[in-house]
């Protein structure tokens, strides 16, 4: 029988791509050469992509004198915490870590709440002009932040909120991208379930909180991960709205490391390594959700 060997065929692990026959025909040196070229090309592309990822950690763990040597060392001869400790000393990185965490956390939670409420209104509640309001929501996405930063800076400084947490987060407490994504997800919710819940006299808020939110967890996670990473990585706004080192976020702290100490590469790499750990973990562990959040506009 021809069906039997397919289980032992490694290519059968990707059945959708038509595993078995692929290996069957067109063997020979030409095909092998093609494979080799393919992997070579991938390696040529992968090395420059991964080298900075590797080097930021390798360099952070090198001894200062290793970093100063020329031509430079690519592998540390041991794990030295000197740079990490020096970076923590040069700039209050831990405090900045906390600031970034507070800022990104507040923005993420707030955007999840405001987006879920707005998406609920667009999907489940009837009101005049719903379509127009939704179009207006979407149009806010077209405005680049840089076009609003000057007035926002003036407004918030005028309120005495420059150099405060409130000043850092206020302009970002709502963003239409989350509403857009959650609306897509809420629309797939079975209408019968909604009707049944309403018939039972369940209020809108309770339905949203106890039924819809738990069932929409993948979409909420996608929005949450996306918002967290983008706000954790924000640069322009925190740069202009904060002044004191104790209010600066980690990203601004990285720049301070560069301008403060006379461009000591060890400090810079250590700071960058520390700053990238949380988002690196999110990207590695939550890639499924990131793909969903990032590509929502690209794939219908």
């Amino acid at each position: 029988m021809t069906a039997a060997p397919s289980t032992s065929d490694p290519a059968a692990r990707t059945p959708a791509r038509g595993g078995a026959p692929r290996r069957g025909y067109r063997h020979g040196p030409g095909r092998l050469l093609g494979r080799a070229a393919l992997y070579l090309a991938l390696a040529v592309l992968l090395v420059p992509v991964l080298f900075p990822v590797y080097y930021v950690f390798a360099g952070a763990l090198m001894e200062p004198r290793e970093l100063a040597s020329f031509p430079p060392r690519l592998v540390p001869d041991g794990l030295h915490p000197d740079n990490l400790l020096a970076a923590l000393e040069a700039v209050p990185l831990l405090r900045m870590y906390g600031n970034s965490l507070v800022m990104a956390g507040v923005i993420t939670v707030s955007q999840l709440v405001t987006s879920a409420l707005a998406a609920y209104a667009f999907v489940f509640l009837r009101f005049r002009g719903s379509a127009v309001v939704f179009a207006l929501f979407l149009s806010t996405l077209m405005v680049p932040g840089e076009a609003t930063f000057i007035p926002n800076y003036l407004t918030l400084s005028g309120w005495g909120l420059a150099d405060t947490y409130a000043g850092l987060v206020l302009p970002f407490l709502a963003y239409a991208f989350g509403t857009f994504l959650l609306r897509q997800s809420f629309r797939q919710f079975p209408r019968e379930l909604y009707d049944a819940a309403r018939m039972d006299g369940m209020g809108h808020l309770r339905f949203l909180w106890t039924v819809l939110v738990p069932l929409s967890r993948p979409a909420l996670t996608a929005v949450g991960v996306y918002v967290f990473i983008t706000s954790w990585n924000m640069y322009f706004w925190p740069l202009i709205i904060t002044r004191s080192t104790s209010m600066q976020t980690l990203q601004i702290g990285l720049n301070s490391l560069k301008t403060g100490e006379a461009a000591n590469p060890g400090l810079l790499l250590a700071g960058a390594a520390l700053s990238v750990l949380p988002t690196l973990a999110l990207v590695i562990l939550g890639q499924r959700f990131i793909v969903r959040g990032l590509t929502a506009g690209a794939v219908r």
Partner: protein, 326 residues
Amino acid sequence: MSSPTILHGGGSGVPSGTAAPAPAASTPAPRGRRRERGREAALAWAFLAPSVAVFALFLLYPLGRTLYLSLHGNDIIGRPDRFVGLSHFAEMATPEFGGVLLTTLLFTLGVVVPGVVGALAVVLLLEGVVRGQRLLRGAFALPFAFSVASASVIFSVFYSPGNSVLNGILYQLGLDQVPWLTSQEMALWSVCVTTVWMNLGYGVLVLAAGIGSIPKEINEAARIDGATGPRLARDVTVPMLGPQLFFLVVISTINALQSFGQIHILTNGGPVGSTTTLVYSIYQYAFAYGTSDFGRASAQALVLLLVVLVCTAVQFGVLERKVHYA
């Protein structure tokens, strides 16, 4: 919530832009129904209120104020003190601002073209990989975790004139040293390289998702007809990726136009203004060196807004058309 895309396509067709039909509530009496509707609308606005408040305060009002500021001159601490009409815009007709626009254009091209071509090359090559495809894709996506600041700081170490890593590698290969950030000719491209590195992962994820959404039957049919490897990529995969490629070009363009952190950290717009893009110029007028020239900066911000709006409008226009026959 198993497979959203399938539910999506199979469901109600989902025309973009229109609101979902509200639940057909079979309410008894017309009067009660009317009141019910009024309450529903009030609740809807209550739910929208937080978002609307943020947009009004930090998006709509600022746009108006940017326009106002752009028409006014200001004193030394940035308070508007006189109406100047369109003179801030007229002042843009200088070689200096022309240079800023040219730099912005070159930077955008230098980021978008290699970024999109690179991402396409990666996903097409990955298609030929039988085992470990997901792992490799994940590896290519890793730079996405790096913030503008961390990526720029790492590349500043690579580029640094003294004991730089890149020049060290060139030295060992017996090649000449490159003045990565210190020469007017090189600096912009060095910033582009950093940006491409940061954004490549995003492009790979977008295009990989696009490939995943190509119906399997199409690939099967092409394979049965004998199309493999490069031919399959050229005749089937790339054309089918049209919408995603277009999306990626537009999004990358918008992102490039808004790039700021890498320029601020790597070059501060220099040397001799050779990396001063539109956004960086806005920043310099408004916030750098204590100039607080909010009038000029706001006029430039409106130019930026206009350029980004045109890009977005093009995207929406083309995508809407594509949706209908895709």
